[in-house]
Symmetry: C2
Subunit: 231 residues, 2 copies
């Protein structure tokens, strides 16, 4: 039996919401899957759950606040108890690619400060190797963006500027995104380092060594939780 997507997301959101215990400081992801979680948390807050969220995008902040979830600015936070977010590709070692929603920079800023980072996704996002399902989003400085994008090519990336309504898509941080065709990524950690080192590159969708667990749900509604080996 194949479950409707909305029902799958609801089941996944319910399981993921159990990660957030009363009193916790929790990073709230961005994108469709994470928003299903925020909606579920809103329902729990309405019936008495007390926790504080840290948003990974302006959109998530707005949604969470509209549901009565208190949101704390990242600058006032030393460490988060947990952060839960979606992903576009999940490798067996729990390295992931994110950024299809354009929020990768703030997502990563929150993720690196979380003691536990949990990826939630439909099981279709599981891949044998990163770079096989989606282009890799890279966040670039608008000034001279074309030259910065060109500097990605020697790394084997083929960048295309992301557009929205005929204009360059602009992130919450005021930058552009170039979506890069990569082919299967043989060494994600090295590629991540090489991209970040470039002048004009702000960040990229490779989240290496960050996820502690991946929670997925398949077509039939079967949940699976994969924990990473201890760091």
């Amino acid at each position: 039996m194949t479950l409707p997507d909305a029902e799958r997301m609801l089941r996944l959101a319910r399981r993921a919401a159990d990660e957030i215990q009363p009193g916790m400081l929790a990073g709230l992801g961005s994108g469709t899957t994470a928003e299903a979680l925020v909606a579920e948390l809103g329902r729990r807050v309405a019936v008495g759950l007390r926790f504080t969220g840290v948003a990974t995008s302006i959109r998530t902040r707005t949604l969470a606040e509209s549901l009565g979830i208190p949101i704390m600015p990242l600058d006032e936070v030393e460490t988060l108890d947990v952060c839960i977010d979606g992903a576009d590709e999940i490798a067996p070692d729990l390295n992931v690619v994110k950024g299809r929603g354009g929020a990768l920079l703030y997502e990563k800023l929150v993720a690196v400060r979380a003691r536990r980072y949990v990826i939630i996704a439909a099981a279709e996002k599981l891949v044998a190797q990163l770079g096989t399902r989606m282009p890799l989003p890279v966040e670039v400085i608008p000034y001279g963006w074309a030259r910065s994008a060109q500097a990605l090519e020697p790394l084997g990336l083929k960048p295309t500027l992301r557009a929205a309504a005929g204009q360059p898509f602009v992130t919450d941080g005021g930058h552009y995104i170039v979506d890069c065709a990569t082919g299967p990524i043989a060494e994600p950690a090295q590629l991540a380092q090489d991209i970040k080192a470039l002048t004009g590159i702000v960040d990229h969708g490779l989240f290496i060594g960050l996820a502690d667990a991946a929670m997925t749900i398949d077509d039939a509604g079967e949940l699976a939780v994969q924990e990473r080996a201890a760091r």
Copy 2:
């Protein structure tokens, strides 16, 4: 004899302006010293010099255009013939520290695209070792800036947020600057790499392996040009 500063800057600007030949595409730096050069180029354009500039800041673009110097957006440029800019510290190997004026990101974006990169400065900026004269400016993403600044501390940096009129100073790119006490920097190339690798850090004032020449002028108005050994 000690020359007045304005006279020294004028002499330096005249010598530096000779680097820009008719028809060239030239990066124009930011800050007091570079602005003296832009003023000199404006005078030369008024009497017939034809070249095109690429600006390293909104302020420099405005100044250059007001003087009749045509400015091309960085995105339309493949390679610049030359870029001339100031610096806050110049080491014997021509590695430099920049960013006191807050324009380091755009300055670096232009510098990396120049076939020849020339630093112009008062001779007081010459140092035996970087990190001895000025704090190191680091450009950070405003969202969660305090945590990003904190991540600099294990690298031996002591960051202070730069303020202007009681508010955080905001760069042309929309970011903040943290000025970092460093002490003498033993391995500038390694430090540059370590800083740039951090999530939330956009760039920093270390310009490593970029300058091809340093043109300085001492108190007495004596000019010196130091060329870097071939790359």
